[in-house]
């Protein structure tokens, strides 16, 4: 299968410290790639460099063969790259439905046509389907800020899928979510993946979540890839154990 995302020799330094140090990897179409690593290993910095939130010091990022290094996040999103953040990022004053419409509206026509077009940008039905898919029907009109943390995590993930992206990067989707909601989130992500054949990259600390969801795992430590492979082989890799346990 072709690579949706290609990262070549990516490096990001803050002062003299390299948070990401020459990382290269590909993500193939339809794959769920997990990126794990101890705190401070450079996972989020890597994401932010790939997604245009940070300008890499060196290296190149390609999406579907097109160089996207340093491209603005909004332009990347329009190319079909979507993301969630480590910390919750919903719009608390907007309803669940409006959060979802917002997540897709910039893909509908031009800025001018959106001003004179329909209030829901023609996304009302799509938002309702996404709400049903993530089982948030009873909360559709509720302000996002009033939802529980787990429900907001579900909404956050739903927003990332609203524009029908080719590639979704999920930054610690399970962080802070209770076990019941975690199961629901994993199940919805797997369902979305098998239904739409979407490509995911997932950063996660919760090992069980990664092992159950991902088809391949990369392990980062001190800004470098120290192991790569299927979840089982990575789990038993001595380098990974050492990086996590520190001996």
């Amino acid at each position: 299968m072709s690579a949706v995302l290609e990262v070549s020799n990516l490096r990001k330094s803050f002062g003299g410290i390299a948070a990401v140090d020459g990382v290269s990897f590909d993500v193939r179409e339809g794959e769920i790639l997990g990126i794990i690593g101890p705190n401070g290993s450079g996972k989020s910095t890597l994401f932010n460099c790939v997604l245009g939130q940070l300008q890499p010091t060196e290296g190149e990022v390609r999406v579907d063969g097109r160089v996207t290094t340093g491209m603005r996040p909004c332009d990347l999103n329009r190319l079909g790259v979507s993301r969630t953040f480590q910390l919750l990022q919903v719009f608390p004053q907007l309803s669940v439905r409006d959060n979802l419409i917002l997540a897709g509206q910039e893909h509908q026509g031009s800025m001018a046509s959106r001003l004179f077009g329909r209030a829901d940008a023609g996304l009302g039905d799509a938002a309702d389907r996404m709400i049903a898919f993530f089982r948030l029907q009873h909360l559709a009109s509720t302000q996002a800020g009033s939802l529980s943390y787990g429900q907001q995590k579900l909404l956050d993930a739903a927003m990332a899928f609203m524009a029908g992206p080719r590639l979704v990067l999920l930054d610690e989707p399970a962080g802070g979510v209770n076990l019941t909601m975690l199961g629901a989130l994993r199940e919805r992500l797997q369902a979305y993946h098998s239904e739409r054949k979407a490509t995911f990259v997932v950063i996660e600390h919760q090992m069980e979540f990664v092992m159950a969801l991902c088809t391949r795992v990369l392990v980062l430590a001190e800004g470098r890839i120290i192991a790569e492979g299927d979840p089982q082989s990575v789990r038993s890799n001595p380098k990974v154990i050492e990086a996590y346990l520190g001996h």
Partner: protein, 327 residues
């Protein structure tokens, strides 16, 4: 809008049409001033209340609009053209003023806009060849539109009211479109908005430009209303007063500016019964109001309404709640 809200709006609209027939000229002047300043406050509410971009320059845009009309009408330019020119000029200047907002936010942006207001004031005061300097511009005529003379206070009030209604309706249209949602996203979480494909630069500039344009259109009515404009009217005091209107009414609430302008225009006049102390009493009232309802009067109404309906807490993150994340 709830059914109760619709009833209140319709009742207020009927009141706004019927009331002036029972008012003397000064009363008509005051409610005309309310209509005019409401337009400027709607603009500031768009920039600050919805899009979360702090601006202390709205008074300057009212000034630019007022001087545009004050200069164009005496040389024979028809009022509708001068009116549109005032709006367009402020749109362009507002767009340019929006650029600093792409680099700085919050109190830093407040200082940038404050400096701009001072700059406009200095230009109005010092460029005598154009603006008349401290002598200002006298006798800006009230227009005659399609044979309808607005020279009398009652007629001019209806011109101001009509303009306010049309501009408010246009703003409402925009805010209910995807643009309105994008402005709120800009206020609440620009980084997330950017990651969802929103071109936050364009929306920021647009929020400044449209808000400033409404300030200019307000100024275009202000000049023929007061018929004497001079630089001091558009100094920082005007900008602070417009900011007060937005915050007292409820920033981010569509009807906030209407209510805020009503309080800021009429309350000082009602306080005149306290004679020399009226401004002090007015200031004290405003301080008490802000201490007890920092999200403005409509924020208070909203909170009370929610509690009555479901016992739930008020809006999760009203933009002007002091404990919420800064817009």
């Amino acid at each position: 809008m709830s059914r109760l809200g619709a009833v209140v709006v319709i009742a207020a609209a009927i009141f706004a049409v019927v009331l002036p027939f029972f008012l003397k000229p000064f009363g008509l002047y005051l409610i005309s001033m309310w209509a005019v300043l409401t337009v400027a406050a709607i603009g500031l509410n768009l920039t600050l209340g919805y899009a979360g971009q702090v601006s202390l320059a709205q008074g300057a845009f009212v000034g630019i609009g007022a001087y545009t009309v004050g200069l164009l009408l005496p040389i024979g330019v028809p009022f509708p053209i001068a009116f549109v020119a005032a709006g367009l000029l402020c749109f362009v200047v507002g767009w340019i003023l929006g650029y600093p907002a792409l680099r700085v936010q919050h109190h830093y942006l407040a200082f940038v806009t404050l400096a701009f207001n001072t700059l406009v004031f200095l230009v109005l005061r010092n460029e005598e060849w154009l603006t008349g300097g401290t002598y200002g511009i006298n006798g800006t005529p009230r227009p005659t539109l399609l044979g309808w003379s607005t020279n009398k206070p009652l007629d001019f009030y209806f011109l101001c009211l009509g303009a306010m209604v049309v501009l408010a309706a246009a703003t409402w249209w925009m805010l209910r479109s995807p643009w309105g949602r994008a402005f709120v996203a800009l206020r609440e979480n620009p980084i997330r908005a950017l990651s969802l494909g929103l071109d936050t630069r364009r929306y920021t500039l647009m929020a400044f430009a449209i808000g400033s344009s409404l300030g200019g259109l307000s100024g275009a009515l202000y000049a023929p209303l007061v018929q004497f404009i001079e630089p001091n009217s558009f100094a920082l005091g005007m900008s602070f007063n417009l900011l007060l209107m937005v915050i007292v009414g409820g920033g981010g609430y569509f009807f906030g500016p209407f209510l805020g302008a009503l309080v800021a225009v009429l309350l000082p006049e009602w306080m005149r019964v306290t004679q020399d102390y009226y401004l002090m009493v007015y200031a004290a009232l405003i301080m008490v109001m802000m201490a007890f309802c920092p999200s403005g009067l409509l924020g208070l109404v909203d909170r009370v309404g929610r509690r009555l309906r479901s016992g739930e807490q008020g809006p999760a993150a009203a933009a002007f709640e002091p404990q919420s994340t800064p817009p």
